[in-house]
């Protein structure tokens, strides 16, 4: 008993920790995802979000996001991403207040057996490389579902604008709680791949929420708003200050 408690138990726990985020790739190999602070690095793809408001980049892409560590959602192939499958996956409840929360950096949620953390980050490119977010945190990269939230502050009401999204792979996006656009099928990164119907940005605070799913691919998304002429909307600020 003493041997089990003092030696075997810790060893068993260590083994569980080492493989709890392991994902069996399509060839059956298991990828080690042991969590280690020494291994955490999100550079050069992300920097920590600061308290200063951020503006969209020169092409209007929104780079500041609260990203939830990936939910385990095994899929050997992305060919299953029909509209029905995606709607079912994205409207499943994974954690409390999933469709209303604006979390803070460091907040944690439980999704089944997983304890997942929100990270406030600025993407360094036009696109938010979720694959690198996951791998940089030594989390699983494949067979995943990511949630993303951001707060866009508009100086005035803007009508007839559209949300333009690209993602790898399927994804769904909401503006102020209303479904805006669904990217269906096995998608890869194409800017303005899917564009929403005409929307209105409220004066002040607007919440964008997104969910991105992937099987064996390199998860990724990009979001911007465009006006009626197709030109990017840049006079916005992104800030998580409450």
């Amino acid at each position: 008993m003493k041997l089990f408690r003092n030696i075997l138990m810790p060893v068993l726990c260590l083994l569980v920790l080492m493989f709890q985020n392991g994902y069996t790739a399509s060839d059956g190999t298991v990828e080690s995802t042991a969590t280690s602070d020494a291994g955490i690095s999100l550079a050069p793809y992300f920097t920590p979000a600061t308290s200063s408001p951020k503006v969209p980049d020169t092409e209007g892409f929104i780079q500041r996001w609260l990203l939830l560590e990936p939910i385990n959602k095994p899929n050997r192939t992305n060919t299953v991403f029909t509209d029905s499958y995606l709607r079912d996956a994205f409207y499943t409840g994974y954690f409390p207040d999933q469709f209303t929360t604006v979390p803070s950096n460091g907040d944690k949620v439980m999704v089944a057996e997983q304890e997942l953390q929100w990270h406030a980050l600025d993407a360094t490119g036009f696109n938010v490389k979720l694959f690198r977010f996951a791998s940089g945190l030594n989390k699983q990269k494949y067979g995943v579902l990511f949630w993303a939230v951001t707060v866009v502050n508009s100086p005035r009401e803007m009508k007839n604008i559209r949300m333009a999204v690209g993602s790898n792979s399927g994804s769904m996006w909401w503006l102020n709680g209303n479904e805006a656009v669904l990217l269906t099928g096995d998608r890869r990164m194409v800017m303005d791949d899917f564009v929403s119907k005409r929307l209105t940005l409220k004066k002040g605070r607007n919440i964008i929420r997104g969910a991105v799913i992937n099987g064996p691919g390199m998860s990724d998304f990009c979001v911007r708003f465009i006006d009626e002429n197709g030109d990017p909307i840049r006079d916005l600020t992104i800030s998580f200050e409450k």
């Binding site: 060919t79 696109n127 096995d186 990164m189 194409v190 800017m191 791949d193 691919g217 390199m218």
Partner: protein, 483 residues
């Protein structure tokens, strides 16, 4: 039961022929990720994933037999001087779980495996990926820049960036000090070409390897510099997923991928690719060769000629090919539309073959170009001929007056005539190539007692003849209007 099955099979074949479906390459055109097609010692070669490849005597009927060492994926070939450089990759592609990969280049003096000069030499690694960086080094393809003789190699797949490196055209090795340049994302199977001051980056988007459910399609961006940036027709950079469509699924062919330019000269360009699934051939991955058109500076897939009944119209004059026979008037009672006339409006019957054929000579009949009047002596059935070979992308066709066996033929004095009945003779077999502007070149397989490559040409407004092809002139261009 056996009779019913056989009848059904015949019915299906008849339907396929009459409905004018795209014809498939003949023989054993089964390949995945085909390389650019190379002409070597009079034969066409293409190489594929896994090793080996296909050989063809004429570009239409293909068989296994091409050889290359190394295995791996997605080779490409280029002919420079007395060498055929071959590139392929091994290790990555997400296969066996990884993205660590090497791109190899080697060369041989000939692609003919039966030749004593055959044998690949000097295999060298020209690019690599370590499995973690934003690139997976597979799907390499050559570009020899015609403006300055520099040799480039693009590579990459859906894992990160497509990259471009420079090679030494004398050796095939990486140029010392050359740094890779990122030129696109989220695509694979790239190829490059140059035309009129623009560099074009062809890339395959969509999903591979899913049989008839593959969404594979070929897209393009262009740049004034070989190192980019490449943008599509909407200005969307290929580094942000842009690309204008070049080729996609059509008819029974699903999942176009791995573009390779086949420039036959004289304004005739074709491209090779594979389709992930040919629904007529158990959904197997097949080689395809199609015309390449150019519209407003962008390449677009053309279509191989389909059988049917056509007007054959000269681009020079707009007049149509017809038999030299008497024009037979349609009986018609003139009706003045300005006068009050309560007679019912009724259709006027078209003239049909039976109305006129008895007045035609029985032997050879010459041809000319005339005003197209939708008359029987101006309509032509164009039908593929089995078992006589073909040319890249297509079999030979016979051109007969619709509803008859009277066939267009080349003559020994370089003219054209119709003979009473088709006999399979080479001078009665026609090659119909779509040119880059969408019009066609029409060429006999052979001219009696001549080895000159001659094409159907309009001399003056109304006289067809055979002459050397002039790519700069509408004399040698034709159009087909379905009847």
């Amino acid at each position: 039961m056996k009779f019913r099955i056989q009848t059904g099979a015949v019915s299906i074949l008849l339907f396929l022929r009459l409905s004018g479906l795209a014809l498939a390459q003949e023989g054993e055109p089964y390949i995945h990720d085909p390389s650019t097609i190379m002409l070597c010692d009079g034969k066409y070669y293409t190489f594929g994933t896994g090793g080996g490849g296909l050989i063809s005597e004429d570009g239409w009927i293909w068989h296994r037999g091409a050889e290359r060492p190394g295995g791996g994926v997605a080779p490409d070939v280029i002919h420079i001087g007395d060498r055929y450089y071959m590139t392929y990759a091994k290790g990555g592609g997400g296969l066996a779980g990884g993205h660590a990969s090497n791109v190899y280049v080697m060369w041989t003096k000939t692609l003919d495996p039966k030749s004593p000069d055959f044998g690949f030499k000097d295999e060298t690694i020209v690019a690599s990926s370590n499995g973690k960086e934003d690139c997976d080094a597979i799907d390499s393809a050559f570009l020899l820049d015609p403006t300055d003789g520099r040799l480039w190699l693009s590579y990459g797949t859906y894992f990160g960036f497509i990259r471009l490196i420079e090679l030494d055209p004398e050796t095939g090795k990486r140029m010392p000090g050359n740094e890779a340049v990122d030129i696109a994302i989220d695509c694979e199977a790239t190829a490059m070409m140059y035309r009129d001051g623009w560099y074009y980056l062809l890339a395959t988007h969509g999903t591979c390897c899913d049989g008839p459910n593959s969404t594979y399609n070929i897209r393009v961006g262009r740049s004034r510099k070989v190192t980019g940036p490449y943008v599509d027709n909407m200005g969307i950079p290929m580094l942000k997923g842009g690309g204008k469509l070049v080729a996609a699924a059509h008819g029974p062919l699903i999942g176009a991928g791995h573009f390779g330019l086949l420039d036959l000269g004289d304004g005739v360009q074709k491209f090779s690719c594979h389709y992930e699934a040919d629904l007529r051939k158990s959904g197997l991955s097949v080689l395809s060769i199609q015309p390449l058109l150019w519209k407003d500076g962008w390449p677009v897939a053309g279509e191989n000629f389909r059988e049917g009944t056509y007007q054959i119209r000269s681009e020079r004059s707009g007049y149509a090919l017809e038999l030299v026979v008497d024009f037979v008037r349609l009986p018609h009672k003139r009706r003045w539309f300005r006068r009050q006339d309560n007679t019912p409006i009724e259709p006027v019957s078209q003239q049909v073959l039976a109305d006129v054929i008895d007045g035609w000579p029985a032997g050879d009949i010459e041809v000319r170009l005339g005003d197209f009047m939708v008359r029987p002596h101006q309509k032509w059935d164009i039908t593929p001929v089995d078992s006589v070979g073909g040319y890249p992308g297509s079999p030979y066709f016979k051109i007969t007056i619709a509803g008859t066996d009277r066939a267009l033929a080349a003559t020994a004095d370089y003219e054209v005539v119709t003979v009473p009945a088709f006999t399979d003779a080479p001078e009665q077999l026609w090659r119909i190539d779509q040119l880059i502007d969408g019009t066609y070149r029409i060429m006999p397989k052979a001219v009696p007692d001549s080895t000159e490559p001659l094409v159907l040409t309009a001399v003056g407004a109304r006289t067809p003849t055979l002459a050397r092809f002039n790519p700069e002139s509408d004399n040698s261009r034709w159009d087909f209007k379905a009847q």
